[in-house]
Subunit: 349 residues, 3 copies
């Protein structure tokens, strides 16, 4: 088990040490649960009580809070990001696989870079290229002619359909499906009322570098052109990205959201959980969208948008919700009252 002194941490990661730089920490923890061998971080005022009561050996905090505790501490501009890096130093990443398992099925025409790991029962198709140091987990499936960049990690059971590309240093969690057919169907009448004709999906999915994709998320291949996930994008679990969507670099989307076909989302957007974005829209850079919002129009101006329905006790909700169905009538009624009242007021003068 590795331990670091505050001085050593600061040499590796920057920041200023206050208090004894020889203070050693062996692990990270929350303020609430930390013991004397742990370092915690403080970034939000709502945790100030935890800060006062913490038994942590050391704390990471921002320059504005440099004196918020008397504990040995590291002062830096971004305590959350600093903490993330301290985690990585103190707790080296778990490696699920090491080496190429003899029970993997690798097509002879596939190219594996140096130090690639492949788990048992993984299937790597013809013409696949896997970059140096990548990890292909157990039960993964890389369709023909797929491309996985260097240092990318696929956790077990990831399916990548043929011809898709994943960049370097990505993390793809278990159960993710990349490159399944988009939902392309043409309606055709017939004498029994009609049926769907499948529109073959010929595009690919291209994922940039440094992206992370959460468990059981699905990203469909483009219909003709490609579906594109930018560099550094963060997709949480159980998200649906439909065909031909573009997601700009460093955008983050929380779980259970769905983006419909051909929509383009800008860079650095922050999209809450269970958000739905309709198809063929354009969302500007730096847009924030609140949880469970339905976006039905393009958004051209950066800013925060929301549309969740407020919850309340079911009894009251029933009474209020029923009025929504009369809201247009209510608005008209108020307008009429306004006119009638103005008439009376004029007479009264």
């Amino acid at each position: 088990m590795s331990s670091y002194s505050l001085g050593e941490l600061a040499r590796a990661l920057g920041g200023e040490v206050a208090g004894n730089p020889e203070t050693r920490v062996a692990r990270v923890a929350t303020l609430e649960n930390a013991g004397p061998d742990a370092i915690a971080f403080y970034a939000q005022a709502r945790f100030v009580r935890d800060l006062r009561q913490t038994r942590a050996g050391a704390v990471i905090l921002g320059t504005a809070n440099r004196d918020a505790t008397a504990l040995p501490r590291i002062i830096c501009s971004n305590p959350h990001a600093y903490f993330a890096r301290a985690c990585a130093l103190l707790h080296p990443a778990h490696r699920a696989v090491s080496g190429v398992d003899p029970l993997a099925t690798i097509h002879p025409s596939a190219t594996l870079g140096k130090a690639v790991s492949v788990g048992p029962y993984a299937v790597i198709g013809s013409g696949v290229r896997v970059g140096e140091g990548a990890v292909i987990g157990a039960h993964c499936y890389l369709g023909n002619d797929t491309d996985v960049g260097a240092e990318t990690v696929l956790w077990p059971g990831v399916v990548v359909y043929h011809a898709c590309r994943i960049g370097m240093r990505c993390i793809v969690h278990a159960g993710v499906v990349i490159g399944a057919d988009g939902f392309g169907n043409a309606w055709e009448q017939d004498d029994r009322g009609g049926h769907w004709v499948k529109v073959p999906q010929l595009g690919r999915v291209l994922v940039g570098d440094d992206a992370e994709i959460g468990a059981n998320t699905t990203i469909d291949r483009g219909a003709i052109d490609d579906t594109i996930i930018g560099d550094g994008v963060r997709l949480d679990n159980l998200i649906m990205i439909a065909h031909n969507v573009h997601i700009g670099a460093h955008t983050a989307i929380a779980a259970c959201s769905g983006i419909a076909g051909s929509t383009r989302i800008g860079r650095r957007c922050r999209i809450g959980g269970a958000v739905g974005i309709a198809g063929h829209l354009t969302i500007a850079d730096d847009v924030e969208i609140g949880g469970k919002t339905l976006i039905t129009k393009s958004i051209a101006v950066p800013g925060a948008y929301s549309g969740g329905y407020p919850f309340e006790e079911s009894r009251r909700w029933r009474r209020n919700a029923v009025q929504i169905r009369h809201l247009d009538d209510l608005a008209k009624q108020v307008k009429q009252l306004e006119t009638r009242l103005a008439l009376l007021e004029r007479k009264d003068q």
Copy 2:
């Protein structure tokens, strides 16, 4: 690489050629990105600019738009469906597997039709029947006594629990789970406040012919009777179909939707993304439901239904949403104003 002249396309797929029938196309493309070797299609007025600027070698359009371009073209009644078929001609479907992989586990009592393909590490249980020409992808699991129809394709990692049936010419995408237990639980009080008793799920899932099921969608087995997916149904990704649901033929449901137990949906419905339909309802044929709508009552009349909350800037949303909690009061207040004003008006006469 195959290429077709417009004349050859029309002989294979119908339609009328305008311009040079010897014009050859080798691929399909969007109007926007097509080159001279590609054929594109035009069906919606919003793409008229793309039509004017396209560099496509040929265009497919409807009879109403026969002169909308001077390019070599095919005129037909349904350009979208025509395009779908042209795609299939010009771009033969990708085959993930060919032949029965020696690393599959196939129970000796299973019956495989002619020309069935089975990928590596697939598991095919006892009593399973797989029809002629079907493709069972890598890592698929067919539980005992399941039935997969001729020409059906299961992409990698599909799980079909015991005794379920999938019809002919279906496409089932990666990560789909068919036949898991429905959410059947009986509440039982006890001296510690109560607990759930599992209700065994004894029904099956029956999927008709020509259906397509999107990645990571789940269809639960019936509690006692069966869950039924009709012919030609289209289910997008990450959809939940609960136990005992019936979905009528040629209905399409977009991603992230959930249908609760025992609900019956008619034929040819079009259900948007992230729609929720409560349990034990009946939805008529030919119903359209807008994205993110919650359906809490049966729908007997074909037509379009919606219920998404409108989004706006978060600042304004906060102000408006808070008023929803007072909407019933507001409606009462308006009614009282109405009464009081009418009284004043009468006096005033």
Copy 3:
């Protein structure tokens, strides 16, 4: 095939027999579809017509309905739970696997209890402990140092990341992912506008005893501390449980719901489908939440809460929804009308 007389059922499961105790039943069925060899149950008044018309050989009903039918019957306090147990007696559970398949990959340091079954192509990592009688389905992945309790059943394709624990007698359906990284990201400015720094996720997932987890549901590991699923919890399909969430014992959550990070949900809650609960909230015991509700604040008082938007014909929905964007203005306008009207009324006196 096993059959039971009503007398035998009552000896095994309790309850009082009315009518001939020698009546034999071989299967369970719904009232609607039962034949004379089947036993059905009646618990809700809306099925009274089915009760009158049923061809069932016997019926299970509550004490209040003891004379609601003249058929041979079992009278008990909780017909639904009784029926669940009768199902289990008459229809023994399907076993997907029996014995340890030679095609599984089991690390030599793993410990398997007596009578454990492991399906083909399962991967069991180093230091894993699997309790007596547990069933690990085909294609399952148990990361290093995971712990699966006695009699627990993992259906095919379940992924459990390293160091997570699942209790005894649990059922985990196909495609479930337990222990993937939580959505932990720290934003860091840079000269190109900023990027995310991954926050390593060091906690575990701990699932209690007697829990059931539906197909393709994902439960993320804790960031530092653990994500905790209590005893007897019921999670339906396609649910997202984010890092550090705690779910109290015997709580049930319906499909497509998402619980954001660090939220604590009490015991015996009943949460509908497609519900979203924001992060860092506390939900009391015995709370019910209606389908598609967005919960944005903690709930301290047990009771029923809802927040779904009412659906209507799209044409009317459009008119009403647009007024929501003016609701705050409307409320102000009504207030002003009130003031002006009161003034006129005072003058009029």
